[in-house]
Amino acid sequence: MALFSVVRKQLLLRRLRRRAHDKPSPSTMAELAETYFNQNYPEEAFRTLERAMAMYPDSDLLRNLSAHLRRAEFERQVRVLQRLVEENPNDPTVHLALAQIYFTVRDTNKVLEVVTEGLSHCPGEGGLLLVGARARLERCCRDLSERDCLLAIEDLRQVLQGNPDNHEARRLLGQLFYLLGHYRAAVELLAPYVQYNPWDERAQGWLTAAQAGPGPAESLVLEEAMTRAFKRGRFPIDLGGEREHPFVESLAERPMIRDVVLGSTERLKQALMLGEGLRAAVWAGLRGPEVLIRREGLGEANVLALADVASAGERACVDMDLGRPERAVITGPAGTVVMVGFADGHLLALFSPALHSRDAERRVSDALQEAGVVAEEAGGA
């Protein structure tokens, strides 16, 4: 019976092959590809589709079928690997294969889920750490998420501790340091990598840029990003040689402040920079201030001092039985400070003189709410 079924399937395939050959069209080739796929010949199916799409590049039928088959193949592979993971939880290769499958579709959440699960069974496994770091790097580039950057650094350092010659880890760590603005560390990692991999043009580009050093805008981004990351204080990250960096050194001595979840840092920065005349903005939460952004020429400590205005105002309101502060505007010849009260803290924005407007102010608080920094405005001031 089984033999009969196999023969019948082979005959069907032969007939479809002949038809696709004699009367090539999107439909005949699509039918052949789909039959290959259904009969468990995915490679043949994708090869046929590739040929067909080269012949009929505008065919919607072929494009849709290709997307459908790739999705189906992905789901099939995931099912198989999930079963293997359940059967062999202590085998790092199956966790790795599953993580890599998810990585091909850039599902970084799933990648990290699999990596975390894998590392709980196989602690310190280099391959898993590497694919996890790659996923975090992806998120770091996509969302400018410092948390992922820092965790990826930890993972990659662990990989390099186990195998100092791991070129992939060196490249990724070099890229991360470059993104974070640690140019000296980036050069140290990328220079030997590029020496052995001269064809890697992207790494070559990072190395050249890192050797050129930071521009003023880049150093600002680094400073703000690192400020937030350190102040959250969640990550006992060892920065090793990076402690020599004066900025990092100064941060290390500061008390940890509160954990603020930033949705999209990039979007927030852009929104803040758009606010006309905005020179600096500080989020003063329940446990302390956090620098959000400041223009060049304004010292971080000075901007943070703006948070003192919020505390003084809050104290004054409470002691005078005025309730909770919702909004304050301090106008002076050199600029305007605006404080907007939120459920869990205050936003203080410093505007250049004559440039302060309610519109710019609203944009700042909208951006903060959108980015998830603050939950809700305290009142409709």
Binding site: V309, G313, A316, C317, D321, L322, G323, A334, G335, G379
Partner: protein, 117 residues
């Protein structure tokens, strides 16, 4: 000076007013019932002192006007050159209108030079 404050307190929604020097020293106050004179004096002094010191650090120098809206009231601190005029109002008051009276009072305080500091 008290007559200026008393006149200001007659404006709609004004609950009390006080004069505080740039150093945070209370010079005079006229507060309606319900506002603790000591608390207002202490907090107005402290607020002025802290705000000025912070603004100096940020490079803004001294302020000319500080308005604060809170859930149960509003507070305005206006510069009267040699001192600050502190005004506490009801929460629902339209500050844009009351500000005219506050600025007038501030101007009169400045002009009269009655502060003796």
């Amino acid at each position: 000076m008290r007559d200026i404050l008393q006149e200001l307190n007659r404006s709609v929604g004004v609950r009390g007013s006080a004069v505080v020097t740039h150093d945070g020293i209370l010079v005079a106050s006229e507060l309606t019932a319900g506002l603790d004179e000591d608390a207002v004096a202490a907090m107005a002094s402290s607020l002025v002192r802290n705000t000025i010191s912070t603004l100096r650090r940020v490079g803004l120098g001294e302020f000319s006007l500080f308005t604060m809206q809170a859930t149960s009231g509003k507070m305005v601190v206006a510069d009267a050159e040699v001192a600050y005029l502190v005004v506490v109002t009801d929460p629902g008051v339209n500050l844009d209108l009351t500000m005219v009276d506050i600025e007038a009072a501030s101007y009169r305080l400045t002009k009269r030079g009655q502060l003796g500091v």
